[in-house]
């Protein structure tokens, strides 16, 4: 079942059935859905599941008993075609929108949704440097609930140990990192829950870039980062407007 692409990446952490079902039914919050969409580009197996779940949605839709049998009538159809013809006239007058060329940054191929968030170049995001090895770029996805960011951890860099106050989703876009639970590579979809504490470290050979969706801000464990925390939260929230 697994394609060559998935085999090369060795993606081994995936969204569970709740994420995939809520994604396919369209009820997943934007921030989480962006993470699932990013993972899907690395994982043929999850793509297949989402397609099957969409088939299931379609089967359920076609089994609906419509409340009224009528009014897919000729008159309604005439109105629809009138609207289509009107729109067509408008569209001819408009200059076609240029296709956003999402040029890969330094040979790094980012998932489509991340390219759109970064508008082609992740360098142009509003990066906030936190210590030597970590910088964070918050992105506004209009979710209003969760915080979405890109993390860039320098090769060999260690993040401050922190405890989660809510759910955190991390999708690895480049490089790899490890913590006490294991090692994570490109494409992995890693979920941490409230109360879990960890200290991720990027592997030595390459910088690590992640997409992160946070339900609530994390709580750093070390004194130094706790002192820094109000400042960091202030900086981050300043960008999310």
């Amino acid at each position: 079942m697994s394609s060559a692409k998935a085999g090369i990446n060795m993606v081994s952490f995936h969204p569970d059935s709740r994420f995939l079902t809520d994604f396919a039914s369209g009820s997943l919050a934007t921030s989480e859905a962006i993470c699932v969409a990013a993972h899907l580009e690395f994982c043929a197996k999850c793509r297949a599941h989402v397609q099957q779940l969409s088939d299931l949605g379609a089967q359920i839709m076609t089994r609906i008993e419509p409340e009224e049998a009528v009014d897919a009538d000729d008159e309604g159809f005439a109105r629809l075609m009138q609207k289509i013809d009107d729109d067509a006239v408008h569209q001819q007058a408009e200059v076609p929108a240029p296709v956003v060329s999402a040029a890969p940054a330094q040979g790094l191929s980012l998932p489509r949704v991340v390219q759109k968030l970064a508008q082609g170049s992740i360098q142009s995001l509003n990066w906030v440097q936190l210590g030597k090895s970590l910088r964070i770029a918050p992105v506004n996805v209009g979710d209003g609930v969760r915080q979405t960011s890109l993390y860039d951890i320098r090769a060999g860099g260690q993040m401050p140990e922190h405890e989660h106050r809510g759910e955190e989703i991390t999708v690895l876009l480049k490089g790899s990192f490890s913590d006490a639970e294991g090692k994570y590579v490109r494409g992995d979809f890693v979920v941490r829950h409230a109360g879990e504490k960890h200290q991720p470290t990027a592997t030595m050979d390459t910088d690590c870039i992640c997409l992160v969706s946070l339900e609530r801000p994390v709580k750093p464990s070390s004194i130094w980062y706790r002192l820094l925390e109000p400042f960091v939260q202030f900086r981050l929230s300043g960008f999310s407007n």
């Binding site: 709740r18 369209g26 969409a37 779940l53 299931l56 897919a72 209009g142």
Partner: protein, 202 residues
Amino acid sequence: MENNDDMDNVASAQAATNRAPDPWADLVRQVAQKRDRAAFQQLYKHYTPLIRAFLLKSMGAGGDRSEAEEITQEVLIKVWNKAASFNPAKASVNTWIFTIARNTRIDFIRRNERNDRKIEIEDIWHEPESPEPLVDLQQRRAEQVIRQAITSLPDEQLQVLYKAFMEGKSHNEVAEEMDLPLGTVKSRIRLALSKLQILIDR
């Protein structure tokens, strides 16, 4: 319908799954190639009540009828405009239209949210796509299994799937509404999915 590779793939996919061809696919093709209004009207007659019912259900008590009408029209306009992008090897017309309706619904719900619109709904929720004919073939087989097995699901399981897909409710919302633990909702859905041979091993 010339004998290009795509069409060969479709033919072999249909032979291999040993199933009746999708009765709606030909109509979509006529819309795409000939802008055939009579073909489109047949699609319109069949799908309009389904799309409207889907949108009415998913917009809940807050959704009013005229909004549902408006969005139904939007979905059908997309069907007309995007007909050329429909690929019968990859998905049935049912699935294709469901994903268009689902995406239009998400878009409608988010229009009122504060959002600088860097990303569009379809950057996240794509229409079905996969690069390999073999994968497509497996998908079409899976779809057939789903269609047959869905009739044998217990009501209890069908009910949660219905709330998820028709009413657009998340696991959390279904749990809250039915006054069930989240774990129960999750396991009911997983049981249903395994009967439909959607084998998510997590």
